[in-house]
Symmetry: C2
Subunit: 227 residues, 2 copies
């Protein structure tokens, strides 16, 4: 029974990857770079994106695809910045999926203004487990980890920290009020994903957000060169 379950899971991931590749080639055809942004609930993805929406990378037209179990709170926050935002809810027919998969993103393709954007940020459902397992057609994956979550998170959710090429360490403005040991966090991070790029950010104060903006510009530039 256990083996059967593993087989089903492997088949599901294979099917997902096939659809993810189709998404990727549609994005490429429109020369749209795509970032899959992941985190635990409340780590600050939307606040970070508000900063980017207020001041996008130079010459990069930004769009956002918002993944949520229910509601459109985050999409409403971002739409206030006059950035095209598309909402994707995962709660159809069930308690709610805990992640986006390639098929869900595919179902939203028709609603995305691909001709009018250069960079699409997909804000995934807040969860440190399953989103890391499902590619959606992105060029790059980044995660936001808040210092309020404790320094042990890379060890507890290794797949997520391994799946990303960038780890944004957020809420550093709170460091002075916490016992968070940053060196220990970075040591654990290096254990599970040696050499992964990271940056220290406070989406609230704006500290370090420029580095994230530059990183996004770099992903968009890669896509332009490849196209």
């Amino acid at each position: 029974m256990h083996r059967t379950k593993v087989r089903i899971v492997e088949d599901a991931l294979d099917a997902n990857n096939t659809i993810a590749r189709a998404n990727r080639s549609d994005f490429d055809r429109h020369a749209v770079a795509v970032v899959n942004l992941m985190s635990a609930p409340g780590a600050g993805k939307t606040t970070l994106l508000e900063r980017i929406a207020a001041e996008p990378p130079p010459a990069v037209r930004l769009g956002v695809l918002e993944g949520d179990v229910q509601g459109s709170l985050d999409a409403d926050r971002l739409a206030a910045f006059h950035v095209p935002v598309t909402q994707l809810n995962t709660d159809a027919g069930f308690g709610g999926e805990c992640h986006l998969d390639a098929n869900m993103v595919r179902s939203a393709l028709g609603s995305l203004p691909l001709e009018e954007i250069d960079l699409l940020v997909i804000e995934n459902v807040g969860n440190l487990v399953c989103p890391a397992e499902f590619r959606v057609g992105e060029d790059a994956r980044a995660m936001v980890c808040s210092v309020t979550e404790g320094e042990d998170k890379p060890l507890k959710y290794p797949l997520m920290f391994r799946a990303c090429e960038l780890v944004v360490v957020n809420k550093v403005d709170l460091l002075e009020h916490l016992e968070f040991d940053l060196d220990r966090f970075l040591y654990y991070l290096d254990q599970v994903h040696p050499g992964v790029k990271h940056m220290l950010v406070s989406a609230r104060t704006g500290e370090g957000v420029g580095a994230f903006r530059d990183w996004l510009a770099g992903v968009a530039h890669r896509e332009r060169v490849a196209a």
Copy 2:
């Protein structure tokens, strides 16, 4: 295809509930009260349990079942308090399950010292979506929500907030450093789960932990009266 998926999910939840009832009846036979404790990653479940392990409710023998994708960091922290702790990892054969289900808890029954405890706290995997969908044989469900996660969480993860009979609002020692609007959080909470019990706690400073201890004592007492 969508309908087929819904059917598979419903069948899986039915099967889960059958096993959860078997777990519950085994726990009842040993007069062990069981609390399923859930939260997002890093909300402070383990720190709260360290407080309880250091000073359990009077005349209540505590045991803990630790659910993690990988590793035994939390179990090691709690074992230091000489409380019986059993580790359950969900990463067998796959990237890792994002929740505990009844069958996983069943597989751990043989390792639990049910004769020697009155109250078992099951620390679920850090996730605000799927754990709410899977009963494991518990008497009561509680969740920990950190004020660092923002006040919108009840609206974004309504099933989790509805599934619990207690919401522990943690890290209130940080309130003065945040823009968290407690009244708004409580208003949202009341919208998704009218009248649900909540308490304000700082696991770090110990503030409010007594109320959680009393609540645990009440769950254990209910079990004793029913047995």
